[in-house]
Symmetry: C4
Subunit: 231 residues, 4 copies
């Protein structure tokens, strides 16, 4: 509905405010996650060991918090990096960004669901959890494709073509990664968690992977930041 | 009380800080909505199918989240667009904006009310929900009328008259739309929901409607953004 | 402890970041207030009238929300106005501002207390509620006195002396007002609420009162905002 | 995992956005603390004295709120001060900062744990609480060591060497302080609380301690802020 709307593009607005608004939403979503970690209800005469046991039993809450925190952080970094190339904004882009934010603000829900059900009914929880990230990856792809298609619609006219290719590739990689997590969510919850944990560093440092292919960025200096290949 | 106060206008303050504060409030309100979606309380030995059923039964929460998320997003866009024309701020304007923010921060409450009662006692919930949006539309109108009346009180002296007419029309349209939703809330909850969903795209792209009338904005370039007709 | 610390002043930091941080805290505190308004727990087969009655019975929540929302808004405006005159910041000032923010972030608690107990055990709730505002007024006074004392310590060297006198007076007025609300909290809860509601407009437009004394600000233009007498 | 990653440094991004995002997270974490203070559940016919007693019985909530509020404020000040020296950012730094924010957003959890269990099973609660601060201090050290090592990696080339030594010392001091709090958490909860309260002012004014050693910063003027020795 949103993406095939073929009305004229709206006037350009500053990307600054949109990015500031998005940053605030990311910051709040990442901070609300902690509300999913509950203090064990107080039991009269609980021992040190008893309380420790109660706290350890909540490991799914800590794991879910950790996974979602890092994930939102990674999405924020990617969002931030892509936005450094966005030179103007139109109404379609704004609502595509809103679609992305919708699924980001939703995250505390599947996070709490995963924490509550990973031990008892993991399949549904894992599928919903990974499905939310799939939606985020899809929205992110739509956002980038819309901005970069049709003659670099919202990018600077001097945008580096090689960079667009790299970002395209990275968007595809993100989509593949989340599709993989949906797949493992259907297969087995332990494989699912292992998959998420193993791929965390690769999500955090995707550029390390691509840097081996392209030797750009070797001769950079501190004084003048060159056109950066990260996105 | 606030609007008919006829005291002298206070000194001018930067619109920047007011807009940043408003943006933060919008961002927090939009992110708090997710707290209305609860994880189904854990039941021992629930099956995959059982959990899925529990999750599907919560559709009013998802629908209410979705409707309120998009609505706040649309209000934020309109707020942001109107503020691009505001050149100075006085104390009346500041409190009119505060009135608007009051009803925006209230939104999580009628949203949760709608989610809880749409299936059981929909009329009251729908009327309160749409009533809150009516209050927002009224506050928005007051804000704009105050800023634009009395010789473009808070707008730039070079403000395009045609643009003011367009924003006026759009404010009237917003008021009519929310009045319509209050009407349907009284009539029938299904018509009410259908009305909200059908009009979502029109709220998101009001400019598409007006663009057919005015052919402005055809010959714009990327380099120099012209005076934008969106508001 | 904080205020009589006589250590050397720390280096100057930008007021911008401090104000942005404070604004974020204000925005979050004002938006969290809505969490104090609960949806009536769903009762099977409740009628429209029954739900309306349940909603009306929650009037203390709405009233407390309204009072605290406007109060935080007014404090934000005052904070913002005072900060327009702050030219540098030191560590003492930073912690005095932190003290102010501490009591601002606390506000959702006495607000919820007032909503829960105004009908049943109003005295304690009203005293705690007004006591919190007294602490805010005290912290605000400390903040301003520290900034303006000792040869306009943190103000610009060209600060208008008459303006300092006006802000001093307004700080005293704020202190008196909150002392009054503590007094009425001890006397009677209805007088207390009446006092708060009657004085709301005066808190919102204090400058209207002072403007009649000083005729400054009459011959201002839109282009160059003069040194503003609001604080 | 994060720190020994030896991939090439990513391109430089503006420190501004990172600091704004961090500030928002600090502001939200500090404001969410109040959600840990609950209104005593309403009891029919409670007397003024009874409600007061209920409120006084919640002193651990108020104490935990106060301790965590001041601690986050102090961490924010330190974070802010260190960032004034950061001239560029790379991906490692970004995730080290994310690690710091992770433990900051976690704080409402150990704060609520401390409030709930300090009277009944204090050891575990105090160890978890102080352990969280230890993690924050460790993350802060990593952040600073990474930025300042390898030829002032992310600092300006003209960074004052003496200043780096002072910040190093202060990072060590912070680590020692949190190690001390973990120690006292194991020993006795009263000593633990006394330790935290006694050291609060030293955490707030560390510079007062160092200023006696170094006489720098004596001959500064208001007009041109010199290179500030606070960090």
């Amino acid at each position: 509905m949103r993406t095939d709307d073929s009305s004229q593009m709206g006037g350009e607005k500053e990307t600054g405010r949109l990015e500031a608004f998005s940053d605030a939403v990311f910051a709040i979503a990442i901070t609300l996650l902690v509300l999913g970690i509950k203090v064990p209800p107080h039991m009269e005469g609980v021992s040190s060991w008893g309380l420790l046991t109660l706290l350890f039993k909540q490991w799914p809450s800590y794991l879910a918090f950790f996974l979602s925190f890092i994930s939102i952080l990674v999405i924020w970094v990617k969002h931030h990096n892509v936005f450094t190339h966005i030179k103007h904004v139109d109404n379609h882009f704004l609502y595509l960004n809103g679609l992305l934010l919708l699924f980001v603000t939703l995250l505390p829900f599947p996070t709490a669901l995963l924490a509550a059900y990973i031990q008892h009914e993991p399949k549904v929880a894992a599928v919903v959890y990974s499905g939310n990230y799939l939606c985020i990856a899809l929205a992110f792809n739509l956002l980038w494709r819309y901005a970069s298609s049709d003659g670099y619609r919202l990018l600077g006219k001097d945008m580096d073509q090689g960079l667009v290719v790299i970002i395209n590739r990275r968007c595809n990689y993100g989509l593949l990664y989340t599709l993989g997590s949906v797949f493992f969510a259907f297969v087995n919850e332990n494989l699912f968690l292992a998959y998420l944990l193993i791929f965390l560093p690769f999500n955090m440092y995707p550029l390390a992977l691509w840097r081996t292919n392209s030797n750009s960025g070797k001769n950079r200096t501190h004084a003048k930041p060159p056109k950066s290949p990260i996105a």
